[in-house]
């Protein structure tokens, strides 16, 4: 089990041992979809998403 911090909200992410690069995760606090960039060391970043304009 390894840990990392959500780059958006700072929540502690608990990650399984079978983590693989490219895996997508979701932060339980802010709901952001995260992508595992590397496993040693564990680096996660916000996964690219198609943005909606929400009428703006």
């Amino acid at each position: 089990m390894s840990a990392a911090e959500c780059p958006i909200c700072g929540a502690e992410l608990t990650l399984g041992d079978d983590l693989v690069a490219g895996e997508l995760l979701e932060c339980a606090d802010c709901g952001t979809e995260l992508e595992v960039e590397s496993t040693e060391p564990v680096v996660v970043s916000e996964a690219p998403t198609e943005q909606e304009d929400w009428g703006e």
Partner: protein, 348 residues
Amino acid sequence: MNAPVTVSIVGASGYAGGELLRLLLAHPHATIAQATSERLFGRSVTKAHPNLRKKTTLAFTRLGDLEPCDLLFTCLPHGDTMEHMPRFRDLAPRVIDLSADFRLNDPAAYERWYGRPHTHPEWLGEFVYGIPELHRTEMKDARYVSSAGCNATATILGLYPLFRAGVARPDATVVEVKVGSSEGGNRSTDASHHPERAGCVRSFMPVRHRHAAEMIQELGFGREIEIHFSATSIEMVRGVLATAHVFLEKPLAEKDIWKIYRGAYGTEPFVRIVKERDSLYRYPEPKLVAGTNHCDVGFELDADSGRLVVMSAIDNLMKGAAGQALQAFNLMHGFDETTGLEFAGLHP
């Protein structure tokens, strides 16, 4: 197994009384003895609250026919409860009042905001202000709880972590609430007549809303503060959305704000931090908390200006009235705080 707590509801024909009936009928540790209404005396409570058909055969009784019980929920119009309180105190060892009569600790503040002196100022100090997230410990031993105002609840829960942490400028917070028509109660007026009310976005209290007094009382933490508060009624039946504009004492990063809110509400059963980038509902939304005791709180930081926008959403009849009162009831009797309040809401 302990005997159920026997409760009566004073002023039960209104919307908050109806919600209390609904919640208490399903509560595993409460029995409703009486529900009063002077207007509907003798009629079934389902005449006022048709959603309770086949849930109860209870009929309204008169205030004068109230009998002793373990706890009274009082839902009378503002100003009436304090007049009846001597008798209520004789009838029940515990009272949860949903009016504004005992929310303020300071008699001078009461007179300033309500325009008349309090008739029993000596009792103000005996009431615990009814937001459990702020006063849980006091509530556990309380005999008297004064349930908080709906707009005050939404605003205070939105701002409480920031003022507690001392990161908000004390004089520069502006709050606007958008509220549903049920805040006006169940008696019609010319202004609530459907052709007049429907479709309106009505600025009904741009300044001097009385709930601001509660916000100042609960968010001060020993400092002089100002909350600049306005209320607008919109095309909605239930719900409050409070939007607060907070100016920070010093620059903070978004993660710092998250930490402050997580520290305040991470373990709270009814307060949820709602701030998502790609959700259907990115921020708090009254529609999603309708019928529930939840308060959803979210925020967005404008780092350039130091303005933090805080949004909070509640159901005014639940977390803003009956639900919060039942949460206090649970705490006062040592029950699990969420008992009878588990409903998760509806979607869509």
